[in-house]
C-alpha cells in the first residue's frame, strides 16, 4: 500500500515540473522498473534507455493520474508499453515468431522438465538471466502472460499476433527456460 498523501505531494510536485519531486519519484521507482525493462530488453544500456523514455512518458502523463488505483501499477503499465514499442521499432515483426535459432527445439524433453521441477526456488538474477536468453517473441509473451498476468487474447491484441501464436510462443518460451535453467544448474554442479 502506498502512502497516498506523500505520493500525492510528490506527484503534484512533478506535475508542477519540480526537479526535486521528479528526482524523488524517479529514485523511488527506478529499481523496480529497471527489472521490468530488463525482462523485456536484454541489453542493459537499451533497458536503461527504455526506462528513461518510459519515465518521460510517466512525467508527461502524470497529471492524468487520479489516485484511484495503484500508482506503481500505473507506472509499470507505461513502462511495459514503452518496452514493447521499443522492441517493435527495432525489428519488423519481432512478436510473430522466434527470431533466435539457438533455442529452436520442437519437443518438450520430459527429463528436462523433471530436473527443473526439483528446484524449489530460484535467485532473481538467475531468473532474469534465463529470461534474457529468450528471443524477443518468446520473452515478450512470457513476460506479459506469466509476470503481467494478461490473457492470450489481450496479448494477441497488444502485439498484433493471433492467440494461437501467443499460446505457442508461451509454450516454447517455457520449454526454452526449462532447458536454459537445467543447463545452468548442470554447469554449477559439475
Amino acid at each position: 500500500m502506498e502512502n497516498k498523501e506523500h505520493l500525492k505531494l510528490i506527484v503534484e510536485g512533478c506535475v508542477r515540473g519540480e526537479r526535486k519531486s521528479q528526482e524523488a519519484l524517479f529514485k523511488q521507482l527506478y529499481g523496480k522498473m529497471l527489472v521490468v525493462c530488463y525482462r523485456y530488453i536484454n541489453d542493459k544500456d537499451a533497458a536503461q534507455d527504455v526506462l528513461q523514455d518510459g519515465f518521460i512518458k510517466v512525467f508527461d502523463k502524470l497529471g492524468f493520474f487520479d489516485f484511484s488505483g495503484s500508482f506503481e501499477g500505473w507506472v509499470r503499465r507505461i513502462i511495459v508499453n514503452t518496452a514493447i514499442d521499443s522492441i517493435r521499432k527495432s525489428k519488423k515483426n519481432p512478436f510473430l515468431s522466434d527470431q533466435d535459432t539457438d533455442f529452436k527445439q520442437e519437443a518438450v524433453d520430459e527429463m528436462v522438465e523433471k530436473e527443473v521441477l526439483e528446484f524449489k526456488s530460484l535467485k532473481a538474477e538467475v531468473a532474469l538471466e534465463a529470461i534474457s536468453k529468450l528471443s524477443p517473441a518468446y520473452r515478450t509473451v512470457f513476460n506479459l502472460f506469466v509476470l503481467e498476468d494478461f490473457s492470450h487474447r489481450e496479448i494477441a491484441e497488444m502485439l498484433g499476433i493471433n492467440e494461437g501464436t501467443s499460446k505457442s510462443n508461451l509454450a516454447k518460451a517455457k520449454m526454452n527456460l526449462r532447458r536454459i535453467l537445467t543447463e545452468k544448474f548442470k554447469y554449477i554442479e559439475s
Partner: protein, 421 residues
C-alpha cells in the same frame, strides 16, 4: 499440482529491485532537459497561444480605453492609462490562465480516451499480489471482528482503539470468467469492486455480496476509506478455455474391443476425461481418448479442459450403448456351407484380441463338452468330440469363453448360445 517454470520464475522475481545506479538520475535529467522531450511541444503551443491571447486582449483593451479617454476628462488621461495598463496586465494574466486551463481542458478532452485507457490498463498491470485464499480471508476478517469486539468498549475512554480501525481488504486469488465472488466486508466503510470496464459494484459496510465476475481482466477491490492510505487489492479474471468435443456415433470394433473414441478440439494442454463405470482405453490426458463399453446403457462422457490460468470448461456428450459386449459371437452357423465365414464357430473378437483364451462348447442336455479350443485359427466345425460326429441340426449349444487376460473392469467369462442351422 507442481512447481512449474512460471511459478518458479514468478516467485523469484516477486518484489525484486535492481540496485540504484548513482548516475541514473543525472543521465535521465539530461534527457529530460532535451528539447525533444515530449512535454516541450505542448509548452510551445501553449506559449504561442498565450502570446496571441495577450496581444489580442491588449489591443482590445487599448482600443476600449481610447474610447473612454475620448469621452472622459483629458487631465487624468495619463494616470488612467497607467491604471489601464495595469489592469491590462492583470486581465491578460487572468486570460492567460484561463487559456491555460482551456488548453489543458482541450488536452484532457483529446486525451480523455487515452487517460481512461491507461486507467483501464493500469488496473491490469498491478502485478503479483500476495494471494490469500478465501478461507484465510474469512479467518482474517473473523479475527478482526474479534478485535473490534474487544476494543469497542475501550473506544470511549482511550485512543488506542485507532489501531484496529485500519480497514481490512480481502485478497483474492485469480478467478475465472463467470465465477461468483463472495466479498465479505467487515469494515466500517463501504467497499467498491471495480470491474475491468470501469463498472463498479458496491459492498456496503458489514455486508456480504456475491458478485458475478462477468468480465475478463484486472479487478480492483477498494475500501472507500477517508484515510490517507489506499486500501485495495487486485485480482484477475481469466477467460475459460474453449473446447469442442466430438464423439463417435457407434462402437468401433477394430481391435475386437467395443471402443468409442472422443476427441476434444482445443488449444489447451490440460485435459481430463471423465466417464462413469467405463474404463479409459488410453491416456486420459490426451486430446483423443478411447473408452471400452462392455455393458449396455446410457453414459455421459465429459471432458474438462483447463488452461494455464487454472480456468476450465467442460463438455458432456451422451452415449447410448444398445447391447452388452459378447465377444462379437454369432448365434448360428452352418457346418455344411461352402461359405468359410459361416461354416465354423469362433467368437470374432478372439481373432482380434491379444488375449489367450479357452473356448468350450457344452451340450445343454447333459453338460458334456462337445468341443474345446484355445486357438482362434481352430474354430468349431460342428463336430462333437465325444463321438466324432456332426452335431444335430437346429439344436442349441452353449459356448463359454474364459479370457486369460481380460481388460481392466472386463469380466473374464463370456457365454452364449450357438445353433447349427
Amino acid at each position: 499440482m507442481n512447481k512449474n517454470i512460471d511459478e518458479l520464475i514468478k516467485s523469484a522475481l516477486e518484489g525484486h529491485e535492481m540496485p540504484y545506479d548513482n548516475n541514473a538520475w543525472n543521465s535521465f535529467e539530461k534527457k529530460l532537459n532535451k528539447p525533444n522531450a515530449p512535454i516541450k511541444p505542448f509548452k510551445f503551443w501553449f506559449f504561442g497561444t498565450s502570446i496571441i491571447a495577450v496581444i489580442t486582449i491588449s489591443s482590445l483593451l487599448y482600443f476600449s480605453s481610447k474610447q473612454e479617454e475620448k469621452s472622459d476628462k483629458p487631465v487624468e488621461q495619463k494616470t488612467d492609462v497607467i491604471e489601464k495598463s495595469n489592469s491590462q496586465s492583470t486581465t491578460s494574466n487572468k486570460t492567460k490562465s484561463e487559456i491555460k486551463t482551456g488548453i489543458q481542458d482541450g488536452k484532457i478532452n483529446s486525451n480523455e480516451l487515452e487517460a481512461k485507457e491507461d486507467d483501464k490498463k493500469e488496473t491490469k498491470t498491478n502485478l503479483i499480489l500476495p494471494e490469500v485464499n478465501e478461507v484465510l480471508v474469512k479467518e482474517i476478517t473473523k479475527d478482526l471482528k474479534h478485535d473490534e469486539e474487544i476494543t469497542t468498549p475501550k473506544k470511549e475512554n482511550s485512543v488506542i482503539t485507532k489501531k484496529v480501525s485500519e480497514p481490512n481488504v480481502p485478497s483474492f486469488s485469480n478467478k475465472c470468467l463467470g465465477e461468483n465472488l463472495k466479498v465479505i466486508n467487515k469494515n466500517d466503510e463501504g467497499m467498491t469492486l471495480i470491474f475491468p470496464s470501469g463498472k463498479k459494484v458496491s459492498v456496503a459496510e458489514s455486508a456480504t455480496e456475491n458478485i458475478k465476475l462477468s468480465e475478463e481482466g484486472k479487478y480492483e477491490l477498494l475500501v472507500n476509506s477517508k484515510q490517507k492510505e489506499t486500501y485495495n487489492s487486485f485480482f484477475s479474471v481469466f477467460e475459460n478455455p474453449k473446447a469442442s468435443l466430438l464423439v463417435d456415433d457407434e462402437l468401433n470394433y477394430e481391435t475386437g474391443l467395443p471402443v468409442i473414441r472422443g476427441e476434444v478440439q482445443t488449444f489447451e494442454e490440460t485435459i481430463n476425461w471423465k466417464i462413469d463405470k467405463v474404463v479409459s482405453a488410453n491416456s486420459s490426458k490426451a486430446k483423443t481418448a478411447e473408452f471400452y463399453f462392455f455393458e449396455k446403457g446410457q453414459f455421459e462422457l465429459e471432458v474438462i479442459v483447463s488452461n494455464e490460468k487454472g480456468c476450465s470448461s467442460s463438455e458432456i456428450k451422451r452415449i447410448f450403448i444398445e447391447k452388452d459386449y459378447n465377444l462379437l459371437a454369432v448365434n448360428a452357423f452352418d457346418p455344411l456351407s461352402d461359405d468359410s465365414r459361416k461354416n465354423t464357430f469362433m467368437p470374432y473378437a478372439l481373432s482380434k484380441r491379444n488375449s489367450a483364451f479357452s473356448l468350450i462348447i457344452i451340450d445343454p442336455d447333459n453338460g458334456g463338452i462337445v468341443f474345446e479350443s484355445s486357438d482362434y485359427s481352430k474354430p468349431w466345425e460342428g463336430i462333437d468330440k465325444r463321438n466324432g460326429k456332426l452335431v444335430d441340426e437346429s439344436k442349441v449349444y452353449i459356448w463359454k469363453v474364459t479370457l486369460a487376460s481380460p481388460e481392466k473392469n472386463e469380466k473374464s467369462v463370456y457365454k452364449g448360445n450357438i445353433i447349427r442351422i
